[in-house]
Subunit: 449 residues, 2 copies
């Protein structure tokens, strides 16, 4: 392998062979191919893309750079869900115990928040004692024992991705659909899944704000998963406003527990049930959406889903008492109610701005090294479209200091006024469903009946 | 300066500012900006190019990374010639003393051969004792004293280029017209010239084989030179066959000495006089081509040009006796005459193949670390288009071993047969003349009258 010749061929728009991608990734992971050649190659990929067989080969080579989550032969279906990230997106916290309670094995390997989007691991760690770092062998054991594990990517899984991602981050080569796909899918395939549901966000708070880009990313990920033998379905869902009523860490745990109690409603439950229904269908535990939704709701109603969360928290060292007494979660000293200045209909609030308010209060990360304060965050009370009276409490700020709360209050009221003046139509919450065979408008979920 | 943001902007097709290019080059030269960021940026430049002001800024920033050849105020015009490289291209060896003998200051800073093309320094070093490494201050002193110096790029000159070129070589980012231009022109501008004549080769043995690409390169270099205050003219000349009768090192010195004696003819003299005429006109020592050519020929005829070469060899530590007795140059033990298999007209022989035969015999470099054997090489006796009889000696191989000569003989006869069968029309030797104002067909040189 003469690396400069491979770079030149990719630069000229040629496809590299599977063997060449394998040698490149193995050589890079082993430290034999230097960063400066890989960054030049990645930049050529930004311009030339990867054809489907190259993308499959790259994903496989990355997957092969590390260990997989071991898997007994036979047994229940193993299904995961992955979201491209958003503000207030806590569906993983609800879906993992919910689907496990339905008899699906859910190896929920998640990440941390960065920038304006939150991360599942940070939210879970708001529960006192909850541990998300564990060796793969322990994750596999827990998955076998209770059907669900919620853990962080370890050094054993796809080391090539960690190295490549760090390089892309400093060389202007992040926003490439094939490179994003290989990064996400290599990690998901390391879980040895039967099926995967992708929640690809669309709108101003999404990683890929434009519908066309999000659709291309979803289609690309679905094709790579399917080609690798993992049945993959993607839903395009709205991220032109936060999902649910909370954005933060402890307060998102509170909202997730409420959802598992059957006490949540609105957008959050709609997206959660839509994703959960796909997971259940992939697991062969429901033949259609209506049956799947009914089963999910029954599992919540029975208390089995909440019990499964209790089990997860116990297994992972967390304080189980928080589930019945959320006041045991870290709480912010300042809780400030924000009131609407006048009457109106609740507009979609820009998720990026809200996410950045949470980061500014200490609830997120600007760089990967930042510490996260689990207690701070925002609650947005009215649902988009709901009518609001002047003087009505529309939001609650949870802050460390009065000064932080002042800043957040000002930003929030400004964002609300600006949104009111924009008169923007919110995106439909569930936009499209993309499978290996076709794409279709999502249609009705009918979950409320 | 946040380098990833600059890379992203270049990737998106934006122009970076002069200050940004300056900071990038300074940071890279100082080791503060890492290779992996620069290689990604260079790859983005491969796709997006550089606009004229970016290219000017990059060239200037590279120039500013090192020292310049000092220059007294006033005094005779300082003019150099640069070739993009070819096989048998020995015009530098002839032009440097010839123009100096005409009263022009010629600071001929040259490179070594790599791949199929030869290098002026390697040829000069075939003269026993001749030294091409010297500090800039010594080069300036010799230039003042005798009007000409023929030396290699030192560490003092454009260190940014050495570092960038080494990186480009291993990251598939060599063939970019703006990057090539900045590399060549930053070094030439460090000579503090009044004028520069560029010999841009066209044809299968050239770095840019296609006429359009060569023309774009020439136009780009002329514009950068002119913008930087150095009057620059480019000639596009043919490299679809070797230039002159010899390819090697010592044997090219022999041919160059013959040319300075007035004993050479054909393509070599035509290109040499065309380039020399441009140099003389830039120096203000001739008002038109006919006058310039006449002056160059008179200077050869008078012996002044050959005397100037003697002076150069003496100043640079070489054996001056070789000039009157070329048998003192290194000679190969095997001298094999190659005879034509049948009658025909001499076709243009492919320079790349011939250059590679010389490399295979040890007369060139595959990698920069290879040693060069000055004695080996090829002579091609008939001029293109000349009629050849079967059995007539058409070439002479100078080799280290009979086995090497066998290989070269076979390759040469095969190349000759293939060329005969292709019935290719040779390119006109002098194709175009490109100045800052316009491009024009070269027209007639009329040097033989």
């Amino acid at each position: 392998m003469v690396v400069p010749r491979l770079i030149e061929r990719k630069r000229a728009g040629e496809a590299l062979t599977s063997g060449e991608w394998r040698a490149l990734v193995a050589g890079y992971t082993a430290g034999e191919v230097p960063d400066y050649q890989v960054s030049a190659l990645l930049m050529a990929v930004m311009f030339r893309g990867l054809d489907p067989s190259e993308l499959g080969a790259l994903t496989q080579a990355m997957l092969d750079s590390g260990d997989r989550l071991s898997r007994p032969s036979g047994g229940p279906s193993r299904i995961d869900k992955h979201s491209t990230g958003g503000v207030g997106d806590k569906t993983s916290l609800i879906l993992a115990p919910l689907l496990a309670a339905c008899g699906v094995r859910v190896p929920m390997m998640s990440g941390r928040g960065l920038g304006h989007t939150g991360g599942t691991l940070d939210k879970l760690e708001a529960i006192p004692g909850f541990m998300t770092r564990m060796p793969l062998i322990d994750a596999a054991r827990q998955l076998d024992a209770i059907g669900v594990v919620m853990f962080g990517q370890t050094d054993e899984i796809v080391p090539a991705d960690r190295k490549l991602y760090a390089l892309r981050d400093v060389t202007g080569t992040v926003e490439s659909i094939p490179l994003i796909t290989a990064s996400i899918m290599s990690k998901k395939l390391a879980e040895q899944l039967d099926g995967l549901v992708l929640d690809v966000k669309v709108g101003s708070g999404a990683f890929m704000p434009k519908l066309d880009d999000a659709r291309t990313l979803a289609r690309t990920m679905v094709d790579v998963g399917t080609q690798a033998g993992c049945r993959t379905v993607a839903l395009l869902t709205a991220m032109d406003r936060p999902l649910g009523r909370t954005a933060g860490n402890a307060i998102e745990v509170v909202e997730s527990i409420a959802a598992l109690r059957g006490e949540a409603a609105g957008d959050l439950m709609e997206v959660t049930l839509a994703l959960g229904a796909e997971m259940l269908m992939l697991a062969g535990k429901a033949v259609n959406r209506a049956e799947a939704v009914a089963r999910l709701k029954a599992t919540i109603r029975s208390g089995a889903a909440l019990d499964k969360l209790r089990e997860v928290v116990r297994w992972q060292g967390g304080d189980v008492a928080v589930i019945d007494d959320p006041s045991r979660l870290p709480a912010a000293p300042i809780v400030r109610k924000i009131r609407a200045g006048h009457n109106g209909r609740m507009p979609p609030l820009p998720p990026r701005a809200l996410g950045e308010m949470v980061v500014a209060m200490g609830g997120g990360r600007r760089t990967a090294a930042d510490e996260v304060d689990p207690a701070v965050g925002l609650e947005i009370l009215p649902r988009v479209g709901q009518s609001v009276q002047g003087g009505e409490v529309v939001a609650v700020v949870h802050a460390r200091t009065a000064a932080d709360a002042d800043v957040a209050e000002t930003s929030l009221l400004r964002a609300l006024d600006a949104a009111w003046q924009r008169h923007e139509q919110p995106l439909p919450l569930l936009l499209e469903r993309i499978t290996s065979e076709h794409s279709e408008p999502y249609g009705e979920l009918q979950w409320d009946r």
